[in-house]
C-alpha cells in the first residue's frame, strides 16, 4: 500500500513538473485516436485518409483548444458521410448543428467527453464513461458524453447501410434515402437504452460519491457498474440482442478495472496546474511561471530504523570496560 501511495505521489509530482509537455502529448494521442477511428470506420473520402494529413491535424490539435479538435472531428465525419452519400452528410451536419445549438455553445469545457465516448464505445467499454463522469465531473458533463454516443450510433447505422447508401440515386430516390437514414437512426433502440442508462448512472454515481460516507468512491463505482450491467442485460433481453451478453460481461469487468485505476489516480488528488502568465506594471514586464507548492515541497523520505540495529553497528559498539582500557583509565580498586 505504501508503495502505491508513493507511486501516486511520484505521478502527481511528475505531472506537475512536465505538465507543459504532457498535456499536448495527451491531446495529440486523443486527436490521433479519434481521427484514426473515423478513418477506420467511415473512411469513405480517400483524400482525407492520408496518414500524413491526419498526423498534421493531430499535431495542430495538440496545441489548439479542445473545441478545435471537436470541430475537426465533426468536419471529418461530415465530409466522409458526404462522400458516401449526400443525404448522410446533410443529416450528420444537421445533427451536429442541433448539438451545437442546444448545448456546446454553453459549455465547451467538457467537450473531450464527446470525443472519448465514441472511442470507449468502439473498444467495447462504454460503461466507463458515465461512472467516470459522475466521479470526476458535475452531472452536466454527461451531456457531451451523450452527444458522442449518439454520433457513434449514427455512424454505426451509416456503416450498416453503406451498400444501399452508396448507390447512385435517381431523383425520386433522394427523399427515400433521407427517410431511410432518419428512420434507421430514430429507431435505434440500443441507442435509447445506452443514453438512458448513461444519464441515470452518471447522476446516481455523482450523488453517491458526494455522500459523506467512507469509501463513497468505491461504493459509487460498484453500484454504477452493477446498475449498468443489470440495465444493459435486461435491455438487451428486451430488444432481442442477447448475443451481446458475453461482450457486456467482459466490457463491465475491464471497465471496473479502469475505474479503480481512475479512483487510484484521482481520488482526493488535485492535479493543480502550473501557471504561466505575463503582465506588466510601470517598471517591469513580468513573465511568471507559478508552480504549485506541493510539487516542489515533496522530498525524498528516509526511514531510519531505531528498534533493531545491524551487525556492523553492533560491532562498532564499545563497552564501558573497552573504552576505559583504551583511554588508560583504571578503577580505583584495580589500581590498588
Amino acid at each position: 500500500m505504501t508503495f502505491l501511495l508513493e507511486l501516486k505521489e511520484k505521478l502527481r509530482s511528475f505531472y506537475g513538473k512536465y505538465e507543459v509537455y504532457l498535456l499536448p502529448v495527451i491531446k495529440f494521442l486523443l486527436a490521433a485516436g479519434v481521427f484514426w477511428m473515423i478513418r477506420q470506420k467511415i473512411g469513405y473520402m480517400e483524400r482525407l485518409n492520408s496518414v500524413s494529413l491526419l498526423l498534421i491535424l493531430s499535431l495542430a490539435c495538440a496545441i489548439l483548444p479542445i473545441a478545435i479538435m471537436l470541430l475537426a472531428a465533426g468536419v471529418l465525419i461530415t465530409l466522409h458521410c458526404y462522400a458516401l452519400s449526400m443525404q448522410a452528410g446533410v443529416i450528420m451536419f444537421v445533427l451536429f448543428a442541433i448539438m451545437y445549438l442546444l448545448y456546446f455553445r454553453y459549455a465547451s469545457r467538457y467537450a473531450y467527453n464527446a470525443l472519448l465516448a465514441p472511442i470507449a464505445c468502439s473498444v467495447g467499454i462504454p460503461y466507463v464513461m458515465p461512472v467516470a463522469n459522475g466521479l470526476l465531473q458535475p452531472p452536466v458533463s454527461v451531456i457531451p458524453t451523450i452527444c458522442g454516443m449518439i454520433t457513434y450510433y449514427f455512424l454505426n447505422g451509416i456503416m450498416a447501410n453503406e451498400t444501399s447508401l452508396s448507390t447512385v440515386e435517381e431523383d425520386e430516390e433522394l427523399i427515400r434515402k433521407f427517410q431511410e437514414i432518419i428512420k434507421q437512426f430514430a429507431g435505434n433502440r440500443e441507442m435509447y437504452l445506452s443514453v438512458a442508462l448513461l444519464a441515470a448512472t452518471a447522476i446516481i454515481v455523482y450523488v453517491i460519491r458526494r455522500l459523506s460516507v467512507d469509501y463513497s468512491w468505491t461504493i459509487a463505482i460498484v453500484l454504477g457498474m452493477l446498475m449498468q450491467f443489470l440495465g444493459y442485460f435486461i435491455g438487451y433481453m428486451e430488444i432481442g440482442m442477447s448475443s451481446r451478453t458475453s461482450a457486456l460481461v467482459i466490457g463491465c469487468l475491464i471497465s471496473t478495472v479502469i475505474l479503480f485505476l481512475i479512483q487510484f489516480l484521482f481520488f482526493s488528488l488535485d492535479y493543480m496546474r502550473t501557471e504561466r502568465v505575463q503582465f506588466e506594471d510601470d517598471e517591469y514586464y513580468y513573465y511568471v511561471k507559478a508552480v504549485p507548492k506541493s510539487y516542489v515541497a515533496t522530498r525524498e523520505k528516509k526511514v531510519k530504523k531505531i528498534s533493531s540495529r545491524n551487525k556492523r553497528e553492533r560491532d562498532d559498539d564499545v563497552s564501558r570496560e573497552e573504552l576505559m582500557s583504551d583511554m588508560d583509565i583504571y578503577m580505583d580498586d584495580e589500581e590498588d
Partner: protein, 138 residues
C-alpha cells in the same frame, strides 16, 4: 527592485483573468436578472432553431404521407400538435438554460469578489511601498 509580495498578488490576478476573465466581464457588466433574461432570449432563439431543424427532419421523414393526405389532413389539428410539442420542448430547454445561467452568474460573482479582494490588496501594497497607487495593466 522587484517586490516579491506584489508579484505574487499580480500572478494570482493574471492567472484568474486568464481562466475566468470572460465570466468576470459578464458578471460585472450585467445584473443577475439582466444576465438571466439575456441567456433565456438566446436560448429561445437557439431552441427555436433546433426545433425547426428537428421538425424539418420529421417532415422529410413523413413527406409522402403528408403529400398523399394533403387534402384530408386537418391542418389546425396538426398545427396545434406541433405547437404543443414546441412549447413543451421550449419549457424544458429554457428551464435548463435558466438553471445554467443562475449557477453561472452566482459562481462568477463569488469568483469576482475574490478577484477584487486581491486587487485591493495589490492597490494597498502600491500605496504602502511607493506612497502612491500605480495602476496595473494586463
Amino acid at each position: 527592485m522587484v517586490d516579491q509580495e506584489r508579484v505574487r498578488e499580480m500572478t494570482k490576478l493574471a492567472a484568474y483573468e486568464k481562466h475566468e476573465g470572460k465570466r468576470c466581464r459578464l458578471v460585472t457588466r450585467y445584473f443577475r436578472s439582466d444576465f438571466v433574461v439575456r441567456e433565456l432570449l438566446k436560448g429561445f432563439l437557439y431552441g427555436t432553431a433546433a426545433f425547426g431543424i428537428i421538425l424539418l427532419m420529421w417532415g422529410v421523414c413523413h413527406l409522402e404521407e403528408l403529400i398523399g393526405n394533403l387534402d384530408s389532413i386537418d391542418l389546425i389539428q396538426l398545427g396545434t400538435a406541433v405547437l404543443i410539442r414546441y412549447v413543451m420542448f421550449l419549457i424544458v430547454y429554457l428551464v435548463a438554460v435558466d438553471i445554467y445561467a443562475n449557477v453561472y452568474y452566482a459562481e462568477g460573482k463569488k469568483r469576482t469578489k475574490r478577484y477584487y479582494r486581491h486587487l485591493k490588496r495589490l492597490g494597498r501594497m502600491y500605496e504602502e511601498h511607493e506612497g502612491h497607487s500605480t495602476p496595473l495593466r494586463h
